[in-house]
Symmetry: D2
Subunit: 179 residues, 4 copies
C-alpha cells in the first residue's frame, strides 16, 4: 500500500509547521499541506471567537462549538475526497479531544492509507517556543502538550523538543510507503 | 434552489479578498472562504516556481504546468465534496484560461447550485492597487484584468474599481438564494 | 527648502499604507517608510495590551499610557535624528490626541522641513474597509475618522475615500519640494 | 554602567528573532526591538533588489550597494539617538562584512553601553531551519553561519543550534547590567 495521507498531531508550538515544510522538501513526490489553522482562517466572523464557533480564552484555553464541528466535518470529508482524487496530503491538526478527535478523523479517512504521526514536545519547551514566537496570546502550548495525545494511536512518534524539524521529517519519511 | 457555492473570478489586485471578507460578514449563514492563493501556498517547493508547477515571471506573467493542473483538479474535487457534505463555500480564483478555466470548474461542481461572480476592475486601477500593496513583484494586475474574463459567463458582475468592497458584497448578496 | 519628512495622519483603515507604498514608488529620491504600527510591533509584551502601554478594547477603542508615551518620545527623537543624518522619511501616524499629537511631533521635528498631509476618509467608507480587511478586531475606523484630524494643520489634505491610493500619492508628490 | 543597547549578530535562520522575543518577555525593563529586517522592509523599491540597494541572489547570496549603505548609516544614527533619548534597544543584525560591520556600528553607538552578543548556529542546523521556515528563497543560512562572525568581538556568545531560544535569552539576560 502507498501512503496517501500523513496526519501530524501535536500541541500548539510543538513545531508541526516546520516539520511539514521539511517533509514537502524531502519527499520525492508532491505532497500538499493542509492545516487546521488554515481552516480556522477560512471561517467567517460568526464562527470565529464565538460560542458556536471556536473561541480562544485569555489563558490560552480553546473551546469549540456545534457550528464549528459541523463545518469541520464537511471540511474533513472534502480533504478525504481530494485524496481519493489523487492528491497526497499532509494534514496537521491539534486533537483537542484526544482519542475522540482521532476517531472522527479515522471515520472520514476510511479506506485511505494513513500514516499517523505523533509530534511530542515537552510542555516546558513548547511554552518557551510559544514565548519566542512573540504572538500576543500565550498559554496554549503547555496544557495541550499532553492532552492532545491522550489515547491516540500512532504509527510513529517523534520528539520535536529534542530533534530539529529536518531530522524529525527524515524519521517520518522512512515510514512513508512507496515514495 | 439554495446557493451552495459562490465563485468569484477576477484578476490579481482586483479586490476579491476584501469582497470575500465582507460577504462572510454580511451573509446570515456561515460561509467558509477558500482561495487559489491558499492552494498555491499549500504546494511543495517542487510545484512552486517550476515548469511542472506554477511559475511567476519577472514581468508578472504566470505559467502553470501539468503537475500543478493534476493537483489542482484533485483540490477542486475536494471542494465540491465539502459542499456536498454541507459546507457553504466562497471560492475565489483567477481564470488564467478564461472560458476553459470555467468549464473545468463547472465539470467539478456539477449538480451544485453555483453563483458565478465576475469581479471586474479597470487595468489601470488594478495596476495602481498592485503598487499600493507594496509587494515586490508587480505586473500581474494589468494583463490579467481583461483576459481572465474572456468567454466567461456570470450570474452577476461587479465593478470593484468604482465600488467599495462592502458595496460589491451587498450587490452579490442579493443574488445569493435562500439566505 | 527641500522636504525632509512627509507626515501622513489619518484614522485606522483610511488607506495610509497604500499611499505610502505608492509615494515610495513614484518619488524620484529614496524615501524610507516608518509607521506607528511598526513602533507598536517593536514594543515588549509589558507595553502591549497594558495600562502603562497601549491597549485595544473590544469595541475598537485605543488607550495609551505613560510607559508608551515615554518610549514613543524617544522613538520620535530617533526618527528626527535619522532625518538630520540625511534620510528622507515618510512617517504615518494616527493622531489619537489630534492637535496635541501634532504639537508633540512638531517639537521633535523642529528645524526640519516637514510636509503635513491629512488623509481623510469618510467614517462609513473606512468602516467598510475595516470589514474588508478581515481582521478580528473591528470598530477603530469609524470613531477615529474625525477625531484624529481635530485641530490639526495640514499642507495638503487628500480624500482617500474617493480617490485611489496612487492618485492620492500623485497629489501629495506635487507638494514635495526639490524632487 | 547600565546596559543601553543589546546587539545580536548572527546569520540568517540562526534564531535571533525568537531570542529577542524571549528577552523582551523576561527582562524587567521595557526593551524595544529593532531589526535590520525591518529596515529592509522600510526601503523603497529603488533600493530593494537593485545594484545600489540590497539584492538577493537565487542561491541566497546578498549584496549591498552604496545607496543602501548611505540610508543604513542614517538609520543607525537615528537608533543611537533613540537610546540617548532614553529608549532601551535590542538590535538584531547580520554582519555581512564581519569586523567591518561591527566597527561601523561601534562608531555610531559611541558613548553608549552596548552588550555585544554573538548568536552562533552550525551551518547545517541553520540550513535545516531555513528549510523548515518554508520561504521560497533558501541558501542564505549556510554561507552566513561563519562569515558574519569573522573578527567580531563579543561580550557573550550563545549557541542557538543546541539551546532553546528562551535558554539563550536567559543567558544573555545575566549579562545585562542594572536590570
Amino acid at each position: 500500500m502507498t501512503t496517501q495521507v500523513i496526519v501530524l498531531n501535536g500541541g500548539s508550538s510543538s513545531g508541526k509547521t516546520g516539520i511539514v515544510h521539511c517533509l514537502q522538501a524531502i519527499l520525492p513526490q508532491p505532497w500538499i499541506s493542509l492545516s487546521v489553522d488554515d481552516f480556522v482562517d477560512a471561517l467567517p466572523p460568526s464562527l470565529a471567537d464565538s460560542d458556536s464557533g471556536i473561541a480562544f480564552g485569555q489563558q490560552g484555553e480553546v473551546s469549540v462549538g456545534e457550528g464549528f464541528r459541523a463545518v469541520e466535518a464537511a471540511w474533513m470529508a472534502g480533504i478525504a475526497a481530494m485524496v481519493r482524487a489523487g492528491a497526497r496530503v499532509i494534514l496537521d491538526d491539534v486533537f483537542l479531544g484526544g482519542a475522540a478527535s482521532q476517531q472522527r478523523m479515522q471515520a472520514q479517512l476510511e479506506g485511505l492509507e494513513v500514516l499517523w504521526v505523533g509530534v511530542r514536545c515537552d510542555a516546558g519547551i513548547a511554552a518557551g517556543r510559544e514565548l519566542a514566537r512573540g504572538d500576543r496570546v500565550v498559554g496554549m502550548a503547555a496544557p495541550q502538550a499532553e492532552t492532545v495525545h491522550k489515547g491516540v494511536a500512532y504509527d510513529v512518534e517523534i520528539d520535536s523538543g529534542h530533534a530539529e524539524s529536518l531530522d524529525c521529517a527524515r524519521t517520518i519519511a522512512t515510514y512513508v510507503k512507496d515514495n
